[in-house]
């Protein structure tokens, strides 16, 4: 579910159909119901009830001054037993480039239950970069008292990492759709 209401440029909408063809249900506005020329977008009503759905529910909170507080928009998010809030960290971004920055960033977000090391540079990602991310994110996680749930890496590089990264975190393999999500 797409909850990024601040800067929906990289949101799921443009690839909604493609994802649905793969069996995912996507809760996001169709393009023709966008905000008539402005970047911000009103949320669809079904977003409010997303946690009532069956199966795995993934909420893309986006970024913003309110951090994870955006979850307030989803009915039951404050008390759902299975809900986990994961902060996806890319140390290649200047705002989260050091351990201190990552710690400060995660504290700003509010409720966070774990970190994901998603360090990358798009097409120019290297294994060394991913491993460097794993080291920094793991160090930050220790300071925060949070687990590192995974390191994520594109499928092209996954064989070079193996099942675990340099810090022993499990590796999740990504297939990138977002390059097609520009609109």
């Amino acid at each position: 579910m797409d909850l990024d209401v601040v800067e929906p440029f990289f949101t799921l909408r443009p690839i909604k159909r493609e994802l649905e063809a793969r069996g995912l249900q996507v809760v996001a506005r169709e393009r023709h119901t966008l905000g008539l020329g402005e970047t911000g977008v009103p949320l669809p009503a079904e977003a409010k009830w997303a946690l009532r759905r069956e199966g795995d529910v993934i909420l893309d909170v986006g970024y913003g001054a309110y951090g994870a507080q955006t979850l307030n928009l989803v009915e039951g998010a404050d008390r759902h037993p299975d809900l986990q809030v994961l902060a996806v960290i890319n140390v290649a971004r200047p705002m989260t480039a050091t351990v201190e920055d990552v710690v400060a960033h995660v504290r700003e977000l509010g409720r966070v239950d774990g970190l994901i090391n998603n360090t990358h540079l798009g097409e120019e990602t290297t294994v060394e970069l991913v491993q460097e991310g794993a080291r920094l994110v793991t160090a930050a996680a220790r300071l925060l008292g949070l687990p590192v749930v995974a390191t994520s890496v594109v499928k092209e590089l996954a064989p070079l990492l193996g099942g675990r990264d340099v810090m022993g975190n499990p590796v999740r393999v990504l297939e990138r759709f977002m390059p097609r999500a520009f609109w």
Partner: protein
């Protein structure tokens, strides 16, 4: 109101083909537009109202009513409706805008239309930030309130205190003006204010202005409970709800007062 009147679920002046509307769940716009629709119905002016909407979330109302509608530019709805009213005084014109459109980019138009006592009705929706552009600070943002351009909360030392719109309009208008601040938390009262604002225009007395305190859970990041807490407890610390200026003739008017 005398006798029992069954309110239709949807005002007659709404356009059913464009419902459900496009506002977010919990958004106050729908309540304000319902109040306006009911006021139009009760005054039986659907055939001569022209609705002008601004940029921002208000523009989502461009096809909301079965009423002639013009969507303009950010802040420019007031002058479009002023020009229209002066060119054809038979029309009842409503300029509908947000706090950004009325109190920032279009302030000069609001101030001067009020000063000239233009016979138009302005409805300004105050939800304390810019909704459609993704939640930036507005002139109405509360001290300490987080927005995307005040990520650490609005610091009044740097960016001032929330603008007192109706109070400003009241102080620069003459006796014929009608000025009120309603809230979507009290829809019946809000409808009463809007209706009186329209009646004041119909009587040709002067400028009519209603600020509506409204909700924006999407950008406030609030659940239903916190949303209502914010509008009823936080916003009212800075924005006093009620009629600010009532022309004597309207005050004497029969039974239109609604206290919600």
């Amino acid at each position: 109101m005398k006798g029992v009147q069954i309110q239709p679920a949807m005002p007659r002046s709404w356009r059913p083909e464009t419902k459900p509307h496009k506002f977010c769940p919990g958004c106050g716009h729908g309540i304000v537009l319902k109040a306006l629709g009911e006021a139009i119905d009760e005054l039986e002016i659907q055939d001569r109202v022209v609705f002008g909407c601004d940029i921002g979330c208000s523009l989502l109302a461009w096809d909301f009513f079965n009423v002639d509608t013009v969507q303009t530019h950010h802040g420019r709805t007031t002058p479009v409706m002023v020009g229209m009213k002066r060119a054809n005084p038979e029309l009842i014109v409503v300029a509908y805008m947000g706090d950004g459109g009325g109190y920032a980019i279009g302030t000069q138009h609001l101030v001067n239309a009020a000063t000239r006592n233009d016979r138009i009705t302005v409805i300004l929706v105050n939800n304390t930030q810019y909704g459609m552009t993704g939640g930036q600070m507005a002139p109405t943002t509360l001290p300490g309130q987080k927005t995307e351009t005040t990520p650490f909360g609005r610091d009044p030392e740097l960016t001032g205190y929330p603008i007192q719109g109706p109070e400003m309009v009241a102080s620069i208008t003459r006796d014929g003006a009608y000025v009120a601040r309603g809230t979507v938390a009290k829809p019946r009262q809000l409808k009463g204010f809007i209706k009186r604002a329209l009646q004041n225009q119909m009587a040709g007395r002067g400028f009519s202005f209603v600020e509506a305190l409204s909700t924006c859970p999407t950008n406030w990041r609030t659940n239903a409970e916190d949303t209502w807490k914010f509008i009823e407890k936080e916003m009212t610390k800075y924005f006093k709800v009620g009629e600010v200026k009532v022309p004597p003739e309207l005050a004497r008017g029969k039974g239109e007062r609604e206290d919600g």
